[in-house]
């Protein structure tokens, strides 16, 4: 049985890797020749509309699919060793494969109905993965995850309903339109994208989804689930010129700010990385709503690789730490597992946007384009502070993990598995070089950036000041100070209380409503008026009958007297 599992994992790894390579090359090919293949399968046609299963293959979908497959092949290879002792690792692999499949369907469908296959699939399979471990925490997290994702599904259903007016659900054909209907469609699709990409009113599920096994987190948070919303918005981006995006820009910037700030107060290793994903998603969404979808796509791809790497390294650290995730208990990891720590630091630097790593190319470009697009001072400051926070939590994390002395967990088996190490190589390579590769591939005509000197070095300055901020946060005195203002720590560390608003804040009213409705209507008045009315009527009638029958002596007397009087008269 063991060998079957072994072969299954390896087989799937080879398959995914091969497909990833093929799709990436096809992406390059399609990009070079500017091809697009559109397949359409008509499922149902009634009256004047037809439901299609549509598939789109252009450079964007091919390249994204290729990268998703490459990352997931690495993750599958990694999880062979990570899930080695797990009883249900076969189920785990199948779920991961279903997840990847759903993502593929999401990427290649430009149709509102056929996108549901991938979109719902992502939400549901991610639910099954989040509740993979059988504990209370994962149960709750899974519920939060699937519910928030369901809001997005429902929003897509509403898009479908509004799109009926066009007679077909291939939204790709109607991007040039704009009317009242289209306005609704945009609003609902933005809602869908915001739930999937965990933007601000809906962002509480993303750190909660960390209850999933770490390889899944690597997949979910790098390239698959959370980027689905950004991807949908990239496809819809031609429509965004029609509406006022200011509100959405503010929301996505707030997401970035909130999660960056929150990550500085978090002590859970995976949650810090989840929050950093959230802040990067905010960045992508922001630049997308600013009108640069290709930049968002660029950052999506580079981010996918270094974030997957970051999660894999974190998973490795958690693995050797006997599944402890608290960074306060870790320390001096770099002497124990140097290779993983190197990868971790490379990907963290890439995340910070340190020059000439992969993240730098996309992030710096985004920041420069942002600086150039005439936003006001407040926006600029929030943006730069968010970038600073990215650097600060990364360095804080590294401080805790690498450079601090030993934590509580010292006597563990510090062992770097071969398979885990191998799977990090490709990701490390791409976290260093993918930026420059994609930069030269995607932007054949370079962006013209015209900025004054201080704005030009603004991102670099904020990175440098981020390091200082990290030292401040790490400083004992600073921590004491933050403890002194406990409320602010509580507030910022809890994502601005968003998890409470999306759980306790909502369900208590519904439970109350449900309780009362059930008590008063279903078991109360409904029973009384509808179900029991017949019986009650019968009771009434028989009561009257009873009265008549058993009061007969009096009645007869009265009637007798009455009759006598009548007769006498």
């Amino acid at each position: 049985m063991f060998f079957i599992y072994l072969h299954f994992y390896n087989l799937m790894f080879s398959l995914l890797f091969f497909m990833g390579l093929v799709f990436s090359f096809l992406g390059l090919y399609f990009m070079m020749f500017d091809y697009m293949i559109f397949l359409d399968w008509e499922i149902l046609s009634i009256n004047s509309f037809c439901i299609n299963m549509s598939l789109i293959f252009d450079y964007m979908s091919f390249m994204f699919m290729g990268f998703v497959l490459l990352i997931s092949s690495m993750v599958v290879y990694y999880s062979y060793e990570y899930m080695y002792d797990d009883m249900y690792k076969n189920r785990f692999l199948l779920l991961v494969l279903m997840f990847i499949l759903s993502m593929m369907f999401m990427i290649i469908s430009p149709n509102m109905i056929s996108i549901l296959l991938g979109w719902d699939g992502l939400g549901l399979v991610s639910y099954a993965l989040v509740i993979y471990f059988q504990n209370y925490n994962s149960y709750n997290s899974g519920m939060l995850t699937v519910m928030t994702n369901r809001i997005g599904d429902v929003a897509i259903l509403m898009c479908i309903a509004w799109m009926l007016n066009f007679g077909s659900w291939n939204y790709i054909y109607y991007l040039g339109f704009y009317d009242f209907t289209m306005n609704n469609i945009i609003i609902f699709s933005i809602l869908a994208a915001f739930t999937k990409s965990a933007q601000i009113p809906f962002s509480s599920w993303l750190p909660a989804a960390m209850a999933a096994p770490t390889p899944v987190s690597a997949l979910v948070h790098s390239s698959t689930l959370v980027t689905a919303g950004v991807y949908l918005m990239i496809r819809f981006s031609e429509l965004l010129i029609n509406i006022d995006c200011t509100f959405f820009i503010v929301l996505s910037m707030m997401t970035m700010f909130m999660s960056g700030l929150g990550a500085n107060f978090e002590f859970d290793l995976k949650k810090i990385i989840a929050l950093s994903t959230l802040s990067q998603l905010g960045l992508m969404m922001m630049i997308l709503f600013l009108g640069f979808p290709n930049l968002a796509f660029f950052h999506l791809l580079t981010h996918a690789f270094f974030k997957a790497l970051l999660f894999l390294c974190a998973g490795m650290i958690i693995h050797v730490m006997n599944n402890c995730q608290d960074i306060r208990e870790m320390g001096n990891v770099i002497t124990m597992i140097p290779y993983t720590s190197t990868c971790f630091i490379i990907s963290s630097f890439s995340l910070c946007g340190l020059p000439f790593l992969s993240g730098f190319y996309s992030k710096d470009l985004i920041l420069e384009v942002f600086s150039m697009s005439n936003m006001n001072m407040l926006y600029y400051v929030i943006m730069m502070v968010s970038v600073m926070f990215t650097v600060s939590y990364s360095f804080r994390l590294m401080n805790y993990l690498m450079f601090m002395g030993f934590g509580n967990y010292v006597f563990q088996s510090y062992y770097e598995g071969n398979k885990m190490m191998v799977s990090m190589i490709l990701l490390t390579f791409f976290s260093i070089f993918l930026g420059v590769i994609l930069m030269s591939l995607m932007f054949k005509t370079p962006f013209v950036i015209i900025l004054p000197f201080y704005l030009k070095i603004g991102p670099l300055l904020s990175i440098c000041s981020g390091v200082i901020l990290a030292m401040l946060f790490f400083n004992k005195k600073m921590v004491d100070y933050m403890n002194f203002t406990l409320f602010s720590m509580y507030f910022f560390g809890n994502m601005w209380f968003m998890p409470f608003f999306s759980t306790y804040g909502l369900y208590q009213y519904f439970m109350l409503t449900s309780n009362r409705y059930f008590k008063y209507i279903d078991m109360g008045w409904g029973e009384y008026i509808f179900s029991k009315s017949h019986i009650n009527y019968m009771y009434l009638v028989s009561k009257i009958n009873y009265l008549i029958e058993f009061n007969n002596v009096k009645l007869f007397m009265v009637s007798f007297i009455f009759l006598m009087i009548m007769m006498l008269l």
Partner: protein, 438 residues
């Protein structure tokens, strides 16, 4: 075909698996012999059918087949074995007649007739003494709301001297409208007259629940479609539409308060049927087709969910979701079916429920775009209670008081697979529904 199905009555004396073979045989015979045309065809005496009748007849065949398959406890304990199968086949015959007659009175007759075997199923094979009350509810709700319909039918007969569906031309008024619809709405059930449904489901044996959720609720939808052939009234539909929109909203919330698996599934039936009522009352093409698809999908799906609830019940002897916990630990493959059927219940792709729900949402939004709030909420709550049921049954620690548990039998997997397969494979040939003409 009808004579064949009469023959089936005698088969019940032999054994249940022979009955299964026979049922399948008749079903396939019917599938090949039916003229799948886009009008009411094969008319002879008072029978005939179009795609609407045909699909619901196939559904009732399928559900009865699965009912016989699901009730293995009856065969094991030998609790009135052949009587049970006799009731099933009788029910099948009544259902088949009621779907295939073209006469309004005859439809009414068989509609009422189908109540009798159901009642006997509940009284005879239910578990608890409360089943008498449940049966009483079931009987009297249907009778009370359908007697006005009888008067309505006689009025129609006096008015246009025919009860053939397609020859009726009648000036309706509010009273006629109410009398013709209320019987079906109580059967569907619409919210506020749904109180019999959770009780009947909770007390019914697995076969009773399956047929109740699978086909008997669809009798109402079918009847409404047939009545709307000649009673094209738009004026009062908004009443039922609004009530049902409120219903799908409220029942969704209500499902979260259920601790009884069967009761939860029954309430989810009410929510789905509310959506079907909305679609029917919109009286457009999309609504009709969507209702038909959702009815078939829901018939298969909720029947499968009742099967699952029963499988859990057979292990733990309880329907409470506090006791049935952690099923993943001792029957992991069954958990897959739990998940698949639950996500089908919340309209996941590529199930029939999703298609029906999409079409219904389209039709209801085209009736009034403000109803989007209710629909969004209903769809969201649909996910919520499905996932809630799934996870509270399958996830977590196993109940400590559960002394023994055993894995699923092949027959159970087979049963669930036969629920799941048509539900998810049907979209490949969904074109057939476009033959439905109004």
């Amino acid at each position: 075909m009808f004579s064949l199905s009469f023959l089936t009555l005698f088969i019940t004396l032999i054994d249940w698996y022979i009955l299964l073979i026979f049922l399948m045989f008749i079903m396939f015979y019917m599938m090949v012999s039916f003229n799948m045309l886009d009008w009411f065809s094969m008319v002879s005496y008072m029978f005939g059918g179009d795609i609407l009748s045909f699909s619901l007849i196939i559904l009732s065949f399928w559900i009865i087949f699965l009912m016989v398959l699901a009730s293995s406890l009856v065969y094991k304990n030998m609790t009135y074995y052949s009587e049970f199968m006799f009731m099933n086949v009788l029910l099948l015959i009544f259902l088949m007649f009621s779907f295939s007659v073209n006469n309004l009175f005859m439809y009414y007759l068989f509609f009422e007739c189908s109540l009798i075997p159901t009642l006997i199923l509940i009284f005879g094979w239910g578990y608890q003494p409360e089943r008498l009350m449940a049966g009483y509810y079931l009987l009297f709700y249907t009778l009370f709301f359908s007697l006005p319909m009888l008067l309505g039918i006689f009025y129609i007969n006096n008015f246009c001297f025919s009860m053939f569906y397609f020859l009726i031309y009648v000036d309706y008024n509010f009273y006629l409208y109410i009398s013709m619809l209320l019987a079906f709405l109580a059967k569907m059930p619409m919210i506020f007259i749904h109180f019999w449904l959770p009780k009947a489901h909770v007390e019914a044996p697995i076969s009773g629940s399956m047929i109740l959720a699978g086909v008997l609720l669809k009798l109402g939808g079918y009847g409404i479609m047939r009545v709307f052939f000649f009673m094209k009234s738009y004026y009062f539909n908004y009443l039922f539409l609004s009530i049902s929109l409120f219903g799908i909203f409220m029942v969704g919330i209500l499902c979260m308060f259920q601790i009884d698996m069967k009761s939860l599934i029954a309430y989810s039936s009410v929510a789905h049927m509310g959506m079907v009522i909305c679609g029917l009352m919109c009286m457009n093409m999309l609504g009709m087709i969507g209702s038909l698809i959702l009815m078939i999908g829901h018939g298969l799906c909720s029947s499968g969910m009742f099967c699952l609830a029963n499988i859990a019940y057979e292990r733990s002897s309880s329907r409470s979701i506090f006791i049935n916990k952690g099923l993943l630990t001792f029957m992991p493959s069954m958990c897959l079916f739990w998940f698949l059927l639950m996500i089908n219940n919340m309209a996941s792709p590529p199930s029939m429920n999703l298609l029906g729900e999409i079409l219904l949402i389209n039709s209801i939004i085209s009736w009034s775009s403000i109803s989007f709030f209710y629909l969004m909420f209903a769809s969201f709550m649909g996910c919520l209670y499905s996932i809630y049921l799934y996870s509270s049954i399958n996830h977590g620690l196993i109940y400590k008081g559960l002394l023994c548990g055993y894995y699923g039998y092949y027959i159970e997997f087979y049963l669930l697979f036969l629920h799941w397969l048509p539900l998810n494979i049907f979209f490949l040939k969904i074109d057939i529904i476009s033959l439905l003409v109004f």
